[in-house]
């Protein structure tokens, strides 16, 4: 409500809280951490510009991720239309030439073999996630930290609760099948 009245510190609190999940959701769609941040920035600016339209009947996170998802879908359509950039292209570098770092597990707590296996597993998780249909991938990203109930995920996806449950199940089952060889090893 404070944000709706134009309270910038309150909005900054929201940006601080949600920037990471929003950026990650976008990143797993477009595979570019720099552009994911740009799009995420647009999401938050959009939220700010349309804050007067926010209805308190819906959770802010539901509204936020709905807009973020729409931005992802628009970007997918834009790229498919222009075919200028592939979603599979390697990440761009930042303006100063440094590649945007991707956080990896700390290998110092494992043996060398375990660390290598873990890195491989995470790489396969990324491949499996990217291979999911957009709606399933979005459901997984929203469910990841278990902070959003199924009902809110359904609102973001624009589906019924039962359809959302089905989407979640199919996504997890697909991940299970794709990752099984790497989990056993």
């Amino acid at each position: 409500m404070k944000v709706r009245r134009g309270n910038r510190p309150a909005f900054e609190t929201l940006v601080t809280k949600y920037n990471r999940p929003v950026i990650n959701m976008i990143f797993h769609t477009i595979n570019d951490p720099v552009e994911a941040e740009d799009l995420a920035q647009n999401v938050f600016v959009q939220i700010w510009k349309t804050r007067s339209r926010y209805k308190p009947t819906a959770k802010f996170s539901t509204w936020l991720f709905t807009i973020a998802r729409n931005m992802c879908l628009n970007e997918i359509r834009r790229r498919a239309r222009h075919r200028a950039e592939s979603l599979d292209q390697p990440p761009k570098e930042t303006a100063d030439g440094a590649e945007q770092p991707v956080q990896v597990a700390d290998p110092s707590a494992m043996t060398a073999d375990d660390a290598a296996l873990r890195v491989e597993l995470y790489a396969q998780v990324e491949v499996a996630l990217r291979a999911l249909p957009e709606v399933q991938r979005t459901a997984m990203m929203l469910l990841r930290h278990k902070e959003m109930p199924y009902e809110d995920i359904a609102k973001v996806l624009g589906c019924s609760l039962s359809a959302t449950k089905s989407i979640i199940h199919r996504a997890r089952d697909t991940l299970r099948m794709r990752l099984k060889p790497y989990l056993r090893s």
């Binding site: 941040e37 709905t66 989990l183």
Partner: protein, 172 residues
């Protein structure tokens, strides 16, 4: 509990959506059924691998960049009230701009398939041709169901609702 019912509950068990009694029933079956037990282990392990995988860390100045952009965002005023109504992702090809303007504007209160420019107010016509964001998929306008839903829109409907409504329409 049979195996089929048990595996149906995997998501609920994983997301702690089962009450204690139901969860115990599932766990008892998992303990007694090797096949379901193995399936559950794989299901849980795959989910844990995903949930535990590294995330992108936002750049340290991301929040500052967003906050500094807000001032610019507030200064930019829309040139026409129409740009507040239509989602930015709608794009209109140049050649079909007039057709889209006819169909979309006239659909407010109208259900006619064929319309003419003469039915539009001259000012609105100019606004639409110069300021209406373009529609990416022109074929949407050939879908009468889309047009029928557009007539429910008004200047007071917020952008997010328009987007969600149209996406819901297109997904069915």
């Amino acid at each position: 509990m049979n195996c089929k019912h048990c595996q149906i509950e995997f998501d609920a068990l994983l997301d702690e959506r089962l009450d204690a009694t139901a969860a115990n029933t599932v766990r008892e079956h998992l303990a007694s059924c090797p096949a379901c037990g193995a399936a559950w282990q794989d299901y849980q392990a795959a989910w844990n691998a995903f949930a535990g995988s590294p995330e992108i860390e936002p750049s340290s100045n991301f929040v500052a960049r967003v906050m500094s952009t807000l001032g610019t965002a507030e200064d930019a005023q829309p040139a026409s009230a129409w740009t507040l109504v239509w989602p930015r992702w709608l794009r209109l090809s140049t050649a079909a701009a007039a057709t889209a303007a006819i169909v979309t504007v006239a659909s407010v209160g109208f259900f006619h398939k064929e319309l003419t420019l003469a039915m539009l107010d001259q000012r609105l016509h100019q606004d639409l041709l110069t300021e209406l964001p373009v529609i990416e998929h022109l074929e949407l306008l050939k879908d009468l169901d889309v047009i029928r839903h557009l007539d429910q829109l008004s200047l007071t409907v917020d952008m997010e609702e328009i987007e969600m409504m149209l996406q819901e329409i297109l997904s069915t």
